[in-house]
Assembly symmetry: C2
Homo-oligomer: 128 residues x 2
DNA sequence: TATAATAATGATAATCATTACTATTTATTA
DNA sequence: TAATAAATAGTAATGATTATCATTATTATA
């Protein structure tokens, strides 16, 4: 593994933020520091880092890949109204069927969709 | 909601199978019965049925939408080796944080990735 | 039942996120 | 330092999904 400054930058950007940016968002951040980094390099390295399990990916209904620099085991909640993604760190047990069916889990991707507290408040206010 | 024969066919196809086909696979099945149905119609109706919550969608690392005619609450396991998708019907509890953070969940999409029993067996045999 | 209103279709073009390609640059190794 | 290999920037290609639009089918209503 050859660590180019571009790859380092991309990893640092992702590790340094707590949200779940798409490749495009990472590209925008990267260009602030390295103005002529190319989008292809960002994609290539995000893919590379994900393959190497340095970062995680999050597949959502928006059909864009969201990247997650936090590899501690956690689930996600996505608000269908505002799009906000919330981390859920409390550990969950694996379904019993996993063991029964002889499956080996290497990755968990639990995503819950619904309405966040803020959007619920807003909805309540406007209905009065 | 106007129920065209195409929409009915697409719903029936999905309800009639236990796998998780992509739009393309549904299109192939549909053409066997209605040879000049268009791919656009298949996409349009799958989207429509998903929006109406008649069917479910499954977003995976392959970046294609998989459709699921079974709307009973269940999780999925995807084998990284053979790509097989296995339904996990045993109910799981929602993370406690959902309640604590005041979130309302309308949809759950839990996907586990790993190795299925068959692929594990094959790997064991070849290593001997 | 005929008609008006409108929703859905088939065919095709457009979109857009992601990947592949290629000449060039950069890093590593001998 | 030269040879080897990997990574980059820039750009073209890919491929799943959507949008468009003229035409057809479905539903409601007179």
């Amino acid at each position: 593994m050859r660590y180019s400054c571009q790859r380092k930058l991309i990893e640092d950007i992702l590790k340094g933020r707590k949200d779940h940016p798409t490749a495009d968002a990472v590209y925008l951040s990267a260009r602030e520091i390295m103005p002529n980094i190319s989008l292809g390099t960002v994609y290539r390295n995000l893919k590379y880092l994900a393959d190497e399990r340095v970062i995680d990916t999050l597949e959502t209904v928006d059909k864009r890949i969201h990247y997650d620099g936090d590899r501690t085991r956690h689930a996600h909640f996505i608000c269908k109204k505002c799009g906000k993604i919330i981390d859920l760190f409390e550990p969950q047990e694996l379904p019993d069927e996993i063991k029964k069916l002889g499956l080996t889990v290497s990755e968990e991707k639990c995503v819950y969709y619904g309405e966040c507290a803020e959007c619920k408040d807003k909805a309540d206010k406007t209905s009065n």
